[in-house]
């Protein structure tokens, strides 16, 4: 596991959000915490390297990535590797975090990844 840059209490709260979803599990990948449903990742906690900023990466619905980055570029960004697939990055090092919004975004990402049986809309 990489040395985590995210505050322990915030990671714990994120973990609760993600693991509350049906059949969600946590697994380490590339040294970072990731949350999955049936092996498919729906959330990743990134930025765990020297000088890195802690962040959460999530899949978002069409147009939502750009909408969020426009609404608050200090909080949201286009992440590398998966940004072109509509994923959005959320910095986790701000003074306070919009937990209600994060909860909604985590839920939407889960529904975009999870199979229909678990309430997902895969491929949408």
């Amino acid at each position: 596991m990489n040395r985590l840059t995210v505050r322990a209490d915030r990671l714990e709260r994120l973990r609760k959000l993600c693991l509350a979803l049906p059949e969600a599990s946590e697994q380490e990948a590339w040294g970072d915490p990731t949350w999955r449903v049936q092996k498919r990742i729906f959330a990743m906690q990134k930025g765990n390297f020297e000088g890195g900023r802690p962040a959460l990466w999530l899949k978002a619905q069409d147009g939502v990535q750009a909408m969020l980055v426009e609404s608050d570029p200090e909080l949201f960004y286009v992440p590398p590797y998966v940004g072109h697939k509509g994923w959005v990055g959320v910095y986790l090092d701000g003074k306070s975090l919009p937990w209600k919004l994060l909860g909604e975004l985590v839920g939407e990402s889960y529904r975009l990844i999870a199979p229909k049986r678990l309430g997902g809309r895969p491929g949408v």
């Binding site: 619905q61 147009g63 909408m67 609404s71 919004l101 949408v124």
Partner: protein
């Protein structure tokens, strides 16, 4: 639209989606087929269930409304009026939630830009800052947070539009 007419960034939710059909088809699907791709359920419609219909009358001044037939009676709920009807590139309508009063209104502008692979459909929903801060539609949120909520809402709708707007095979 000139830059001066653009609403301030903080007051608008803007969401774009790339669909795989040309602008004329995208415009027709957005308007004529609106009931088929617009999501169902109370998050997206006033009338719950499978029997409600959503209509957009194709002209300036036309209504955006939901209807449902129960026991031979038709109930109609108007959500807004068309303000711009310029197929295949621009569509605009006023948007009033069910709890809006008097002259309270927001505005939705939809543009259809041709791309190499189809059309970029962009929805810009603005006018939220004119609603009073304690308006029930804002659920006690600051304008910025509320605009983001609306952006997520449109993200769901635009995802459905893209799904629906697939090229049809030749007959």
């Amino acid at each position: 639209m000139s830059a001066r007419e653009l609403p301030a960034a903080g007051d608008r939710a803007r969401v774009s989606v790339a669909v795989a059909v040309p602008p004329a088809d995208a415009f027709r699907i957005f308007s004529e087929d609106i009931d088929q791709w617009w999501r169902r359920g109370l998050k997206y419609r006033v009338i719950d269930g499978q029997r409600g219909l959503l209509h957009l009358e194709p002209r300036v001044g036309g209504r955006l409304f939901e209807s449902v037939e129960t026991d031979g009676q038709t109930t109609v709920i108007e959500n807004g009026r068309v303000t711009v009807w310029e197929p295949p590139l621009r569509l605009g309508f006023d948007w009033r939630a069910s709890n809006f009063q008097g002259d309270e209104s927001t505005h939705v502008e939809v543009t259809f830009e041709p791309t190499r692979s189809g059309t970029l459909v962009t929805v810009t929903h603005s006018g939220f800052s004119k609603l009073r801060p304690d308006h029930p539609v804002r659920h006690g949120q600051e304008v910025a947070a509320f605009v983001r909520e609306m952006g997520l809402w449109w993200g769901g709708l635009m995802t459905s539009l893209r799904e629906f707007a697939r090229p049809r095979g030749e007959p």
